[in-house]
Subunit: 327 residues, 2 copies
């Protein structure tokens, strides 16, 4: 056969939308990204997305055939193919599968939560290979959760399973984009870290040469913490402690073998891993102690969600590509 | 074939151990119970358990054949066949499968958490029939959790999955038998309800003809609440509110279609269901609203865990007896 089959993986984020073409083995043949521009209607993004995908496809050698499209998106619903009122993307309800079908008529299209897509990438091509029970926590603008149980991705009855980010960790605490207060993601995310650092700066004495509260990003806090800045280190300690405490609840429910941290904040390494592990251990029911590891993701940063989204459609086309475990 | 195959289901509890013989359709052919006597070594209980099971078997007509044994027990480990240091049973670590094999040599024996057994009974013979994603919460001396995801019981990597009872709801709160403080089961259980009622009685003015704090059981509080006693009703309201708040976290993770409340406390009906549902709804991420029901268990009170334990061994002997769903 002269034509290679490819899957298009798409990861829609609050700021950027990444896309890439992958073969069945997870090899990336080409990838790019476009700004999401969530201030514009979703149709505008999908129009630009289609143009970028077609332009990229034209550059690939050997006239490959597009077999299907997998999409990870915030509040992506696996059953309905929709995006439904995500807190970090002001699009409301979008029939994503329907809109994409307008451009790619007749092609199989699968939609899921962006963190589920990342977990699926981890399961097939990352550190989750061979594991039956694990979790992926994406730490970006918000906090996403992808859960694998018995070797299968958990979508739940609603199709929205995996929303640890919207569990309340501080009753009456920080207001969240979802309408609740004190959600985990208002503390354990890039946004939450920056806010914690700002609060620490406002509460303490000014440190000469220290962080500038006016222009404070997670990236800057990470750089400052690595350079030894005490406020930045304290912000990471607080963030990890709140995250670890909530992970103890998650472990008590599905008892994963590993929890992979993924995304911008996870790049801080031990700065976030150490306090997370310690708080997890301190709050864990004793039977689970020593049964779960908190690790950085095993999928290359730029690729996990796009790769996972592509893998999702391979699985839809051929369920046997994923080895199921028997309980 | 003239001999009927039966499974022996056993549910080891902190106070009583129930046992029964079931056929493949879930029909109970005989059941009884013995006191657990956790003050004695586990070997003493297993000796009496064997004697009771043999005596019961001898009363069954048609010389049935015992095909296997399923056991639900607190901190029962599915993979190792052990009981491991349950907070409400002072036996430490027990090789349960090994000990039972001493009496029933060569018979297949499966062990799991008592709440998992209840969930399995609910899945095969109760209100969970046909559901892919649900949860069973057992409200007794402690709080147990059995989780079904994609039509399968969740054991997790450790074999201990489903311990919502030992998630912390009140940092630094009530001491729990597990060594942590503020665990859900110290509030949402028969014991927790009684403690809440005692605290309310101690804090308020004495009510003539009201509850007697010296002799206060969950059963009495239930009777008083049904008779309109305001303190007893307030104790149920507080219990349900704390439970519902934590259930919101559980729903955000695995997104069940239904949560079945089971056990002594669940018999209070709307007294516990109403505040639980309200607190669940108030703390739930909006995408899950209206997707989950909180209902009483659909398995007859005395039988769920024993029946579920028996079903577990039927499934071990023939996995196809449970219809798996495809994700």
């Amino acid at each position: 056969m002269s034509h290679m089959d490819l899957a298009l993986g798409i990861d829609i984020g609050g700021t950027n939308t990444a896309l890439g073409y992958f073969d069945r083995s997870g090899r990336c043949l080409g990838a790019t990204s476009i700004p999401t521009r969530s201030d514009q209607p979703p149709e505008a993004c999908i129009l630009r997305l289609h143009a970028a995908a077609q332009a990229l496809l034209a550059t690939l050698p050997g006239a490959p055939r597009l077999a299907g499209i997998g999409v990870g998106a915030p509040n992506g619903n696996y059953y309905r193919g929709t995006i439904e009122n995500p807190p970090n993307l002001s699009w409301g309800q979008v029939d994503l599968r329907g809109a994409l079908s307008g451009y790619w008529a007749g092609l199989p299209i699968a939609v899921t939560n962006d963190a589920n897509a990342a977990a699926f990438g981890e399961l097939l091509f990352g550190a989750g290979q061979g594991l039956h029970d694990f979790m992926v926590i994406t730490l970006g603008t918000g906090l996403g959760t992808g859960i694998v149980v018995n070797g299968q991705l958990v979508h739940g009855h609603s199709g929205f399973a995996g929303e640890l980010g919207h569990c309340i960790v501080e009753p009456g605490g920080r207001p969240c984009g979802c309408g609740l207060r004190g959600c985990l993601e208002t503390y354990a995310s890039a946004t939450g870290l920056a806010r914690t650092a700002r609060e620490l700066l406002a509460a303490g004495p000014a440190t000469p040469g220290g962080l500038d509260p006016e222009a404070l990003s997670a990236q800057q806090i990470c750089a400052a913490a690595l350079a030894g800045d005490p406020i930045a280190r304290e912000a990471f300690r607080i963030t990890g402690t709140i995250l670890g405490r909530k992970l103890a609840d998650a472990v008590a429910l599905t008892s994963p073998e590993a929890i992979f941290l993924f995304g911008g904040l996870a790049k801080a390494g031990e700065l976030i891993l150490e306090p997370t592990r310690r708080a997890l251990d301190e709050n864990l029911f004793h039977v689970f102690r020593g049964t779960v590891q908190v690790l950085p993701s095993g999928v290359p940063e730029g690729h996990a969600a796009v790769l996972g989204a592509a893998a999702l459609i391979w699985k839809e086309l051929d369920p046997s590509c994923v080895n199921r475990s028997d309980t």
